[in-house]
């Protein structure tokens, strides 16, 4: 059990859940009858993909990708030199004599790609919802099979 946990579950758990969420979203997109349920499925699908990207950029024991303005290590280094005034030390401590170690900081690139995707996702969700409203106005229903029947039966009744 412990071995299974360490060998299989821990290294790939995020990726498993991303596949499961993707399956849930895809199933909702195909099988659900209601249009708003389909849109919820679409959003779940979208977050699954974002989850995949962000999981790729995670590093173990890494900190967030913002340089620390009041970092302890840099403070210690600046104290050792002792040449700077208090104010300068605070503002410039992250300028650092050395560049940060890449292994101790999360990968910023997936975050950048996904940050815009979320806002764009909301905008596209808005477009989809407006189309839904128009479909309701045209057919008086949000159920897929009823809409299909109306379309097959020769267009709109009213």
């Amino acid at each position: 059990m412990a071995e299974f946990f360490e060998q299989t579950l821990q290294p790939h758990f995020n990726f498993w859940i991303y596949v499961i969420l993707m399956m849930i979203g895809l199933w909702a997109l195909i099988a659900k009858n209601n249009l708003i349920k389909k849109l919820i499925g679409m959003s779940i699908f979208q977050t699954a993909i974002i989850l995949f990207y962000v999981s790729l950029g995670v590093k173990e024991d890494a900190t967030i990708p913002i340089l620390d303005p009041y970092g302890q290590a840099e403070h210690a280094a600046a104290d050792a030199e002792g040449a700077e005034t208090e104010g300068e030390k605070k503002r410039d401590s992250y300028i650092g004599k050395k560049s940060p170690d890449p292994d101790t900081m999360a990968n910023p690139l997936p975050h950048v790609l996904m940050l815009t995707a979320i806002v764009v996702g909301v905008a596209t969700l808005g477009v989809a919802l407006s189309i839904t409203q128009m479909i309701f106005k045209e057919f008086g229903s949000l159920e897929e099979d009823e809409i299909l029947e109306i379309v097959k039966g020769g267009g709109v009744d009213d």
């Binding site: 779940i44 890494a62 806002v119 909301v122 969700l125 839904t132 229903s141």
Partner: protein, 81 residues
Amino acid sequence: MIFAFDIIILVFLVIAAIISLSVKDLLSASMIFGIYGFLICLLWAEMGAVDVAFTEAAVGAGISAVLMVATVFNTKRKSSD
């Protein structure tokens, strides 16, 4: 990355997704989809993606649930499945 939080949030995420897809009341479904947004914001924060988490916090708490509720208000609340 905090591994204990990671597993719990991911499990909750799947539960919230399934609940929000199985509820027949579309108002409840859109509010539960809000929960999904809360949990996913926690997930980003815990994985160290602060900017993504901030975006998700603003979008999930302020905008997306309200947009869905507005659409349900203008269409129909009851769903067949």
